[in-house]
């Protein structure tokens, strides 16, 4: 029996286990939307912008580990997904975006709403397809999901011309596929892993830097086992947050530009770095020549291009983090019987001193709300049992520093691309996947305005997403740089004309709450958590507050700026210089 291309597409998505799609209709995808009309198995969430749909699919993927799906029309609908695709590409997030295309006979003619989306998205996708023949469609869908979710995951675009959605063909679902030119290395080289184990046994000042690969591969249990068995402290990059419990005694928080003092000092003083699923981004390393001058590096990553891209590596191990760590743990346990606790005593004591010398801190004020206080209260009042999404800038860093994340897939943030406007639609995607969980977008007044139209989506589908707006009427991180490095010349960072967010929320049918004093913060959060509706919490915060510690761009990561001058003589800081 022959069926339409639209039916093949949707039935293929069902075969891949898709239950939720985020999308927006348009001319060339009418056939697909028509087939979806009244469909019981797949629910489409109509966003208010295609960027919102793409970020929602991304948030869905990050919070579940499953492929997120967006469906949009051609031309502007498709180009609106580019930021979402680039966001997912930079952070290795598996999403499949289906874009409509003008009919094959019109391609290349500058037809109405035509855009060469395969050309446009080539550099910001893992792979993309233009489906010219309906007989290839089922296979392409299967392959797209396989490529998006395997190896180093990433976004895949399927561009589907209108005529292909209409013509009839037999639906042949391929049970197996084989892409001869794509075979990600999953198992790490055993010999290399053994070499790594021997290095770990000899090291006296080791540190683990865990990145997004730990979360992507589900390696958290193996990482915890490694850290606890060998007593090695763990710092998690922005993308790795949640991959190792923040509240664990061996956790050092985040490294890098706004990392903790003790994470950065430990890296700089270490003799061995075990890098797991991270890529030595410039926000982590600071000045490359001065990065971890005494350390040898063991680098575990599924993507060979991540290895030796920025730093020299003594032991490269290409493979899936979970599988490699499992073998590494086994090799270490079968190896020499070492008194790990004893060996690690001096190093952990040193780190403890750094922790005591400069914990993450801020100065509480009774009269004006400090943003860090809001984040701390969100943590306390949710008991940490929440999925946090962030926008980008100061809000993102405070969310990373002052909330504690003990489980993977509970901190969703645009790390690589740094996309303002990511957090709210991502929270919508996460809430769709986890209807019973508390999902909070920690936002700034600038970022939230970049996809504020998605309030309609959240309200329409009764998604009880909470948005905590840290409202300082500024593009805070830009303002911070201008204050510190541009002689307080606040060029265009003052967001005059920030709307009344309470009224905006109410206008969309959501709930708006506001706190202007620290004493009001708890009441607002408690109220928001109680209401089973979309809530905007407008926290009017101290606009002068800055994110600390801070490593100025291009400086070594042990040269940090702090809120105030150091109280005690810091010998170690000098020693490293």
């Amino acid at each position: 029996m022959k069926v339409s291309g639209s039916e093949i597409l949707i039935e293929s998505l069902k075969k891949e286990g898709v239950k939720h799609i985020f999308g927006y209709p348009g001319g060339v995808v009418l056939n697909i939307f028509d087939y979806l009309y009244g469909d019981k198995d797949i629910k489409l969430f109509l966003t208010r912008h295609e960027q919102g749909a793409t970020h929602a699919a991304d948030g869905y993927a990050r919070s579940t580990g499953h492929v997120g799906v967006a469906l949009v029309t051609s031309g502007p609908g498709a180009t609106n997904t580019v930021t979402g695709l680039a966001t997912a590409a930079m952070d290795s997030i598996p999403i499949v975006v289906i874009t409509g295309q003008v009919a094959t006979s019109l391609i290349g003619n500058d037809a109405f709403q035509e855009a060469d989306i395969v050309g446009i998205t080539r550099p910001c996708t893992k792979y993309n397809y233009l489906v010219k023949d309906v007989h290839d469609l089922a296979y392409i869908v299967k392959e797209a999901f396989y490529i998006a979710s395997s190896g180093r995951p990433g976004p895949v675009v399927i561009d589907l011309p209108k005529d292909v959605t209409a013509v009839q063909a037999k639906f042949n679902w391929p049970e197996k596929i084989d892409v001869r030119s794509y075979n990600p290395t999953m198992e790490g080289n055993r010999w290399m892993i053994e070499k790594a184990a021997r290095k770990i046994e000899k090291s006296r000042k080791p540190i683990i830097i865990a990145g997004g690969g730990v979360i992507g591969s589900g390696a958290s249990p193996e990482l915890l086992e490694l850290a606890e068995f060998t007593r090695i402290p763990v710092t998690t990059t922005l993308m790795g947050i949640g991959g190792f419990p923040s509240t664990h005694a061996l956790s050092l928080g985040m490294p890098g530009m706004h990392g903790t003092y003790y994470a950065n000092m430990s890296i700089q003083d270490s003799d061995l770095i075990i890098a797991v699923g991270m890529r030595f981004d410039d926000r982590v390393t600071g000045k490359l020549d001065a990065f971890a001058p005494n350390a040898e590096i063991i680098h575990i990553d599924i993507d060979p291009t991540s290895i030796r891209k920025n730093v020299d590596v003594a032991i490269p191990i290409v493979g899936d983090c979970k599988k490699v760590l499992a073998v590494l743990n086994q090799v270490l346990k079968e190896g020499e019987m070492l008194q790990w606790a004893e060996i690690r005593k001096a190093w952990l004591k040193q780190i403890d001193e750094w922790k005591k010398l400069r914990p993450l801190s801020y100065t509480f004020d009774e009269n004006v709300i400090k943003p860090q206080y809001v984040v701390e209260r969100l943590y306390a009042l949710t008991g940490g049992d929440a999925i946090i999404t962030t926008e980008v800038g100061q809000n993102q860093m405070w969310a990373a520093q002052f909330f504690k994340y003990d489980k993977p897939r509970t901190f969703l943030s645009s790390g690589g691309l740094g996309t303002m406007g990511y957090g709210f639609p991502a929270a919508i995607g996460a809430q769709v996947a986890h209807p019973d969980k508390t999902v909070i977008d920690i936002a700034g007044d600038g970022s939230i305005q970049m996809n504020i139209q998605e309030l309609a989506t959240a309200v329409l589908y009764e998604l009880p997403v909470k948005v905590a707006i840290l409202n300082n009427q500024y593009l805070g991180m830009v303002r911070q740089w201008q204050e510190l490095f541009y002689g307080e010349r606040y060029s265009h960072s003052h967001l005059k004309g920030v709307p009344d967010f309470v009224k905006v929320a109410e206008a969309y049918g959501a709930v708006g709450l506001r706190a202007t004093k620290p004493s009001e913060v708890d009441a607002v959060i408690k109220e928001a958590l109680k209401i089973k509706k979309t809530v905007f919490m407008d926290f009017v915060i101290d606009w002068k507050e800055k994110v600390y510690p801070m490593v100025p761009a291009g400086a070594p990561i042990d040269q940090m700026l702090f809120e105030e001058a150091p109280k005690k003589e810091d010998k170690k800081l000098k020693a490293v210089k």
Binding site: V118, G119, R122, P123, K126, Y127, L130, I147, V179, R180, S181, Y182, D303, P304, T305, R308, K309
Partner: protein, 162 residues
């Protein structure tokens, strides 16, 4: 250093732009690129000549390998191989140079593939040095224009890693 990299790719539309886009997007040099079908019509072979520090070349080969449509990448810098390039050159020599032009073409084992009352079109193949030498010698003879094919290369059958 200058490296000649041989790349086997799926013979699909768009693959060339994926490869070219990789080089432009990441700021790698590309001196020449040539591409053609192989024995298996579903596979194309590309020969890419590029320059860069060792670390950059390592990234280039890794990034090429990472492209979904790339089947195999071989850096020929590490193996014995044969390289060839072709030049098609139009010369309009003065009467007294005509014999010299034909003689030079013969010395370099070139062939005249087209001629008109005023011009010869000469085809010549060889490695880069040979072609450079030929072009230099011909320049005073009234070269009107020439085109170069870009390099193609293949590993020697008995090749050993250098």
């Amino acid at each position: 250093m200058r490296h000649t990299i041989s790349v086997l790719v799926e013979n699909k539309f768009g693959v060339l732009s994926r490869v070219a886009g990789l080089f432009s997007g990441r700021g790698y040099n590309i001196e020449s690129l040539s591409v053609g079908e192989t024995l298996d019509p579903k596979i194309s072979a590309m020969t890419i000549v590029t320059t860069g520090e060792e670390q950059v070349i390592e990234q280039i080969t890794k990034q090429l390998n990472k492209l979904i449509d790339v089947i195999k990448v071989q850096d020929l810098f590490e193996v014995d191989h044969v390289e060839r390039e072709m030049v098609l050159m139009k010369v309009s020599p003065r009467q007294e140079h005509k014999a010299e032009v034909l003689r030079l073409a013969e010395i370099f084992r070139g062939r005249v593939v087209d001629s008109s009352p005023k011009t010869y079109t000469i085809e010549i193949t060889g490695d880069e040095k040979k072609l450079e030498a030929f072009i230099e010698l011909m320049k005073p003879m009234g070269v009107k224009e020439f085109v170069r094919s870009g390099k193609i290369a293949i590993a020697r059958e008995m090749s050993k890693n250098k």
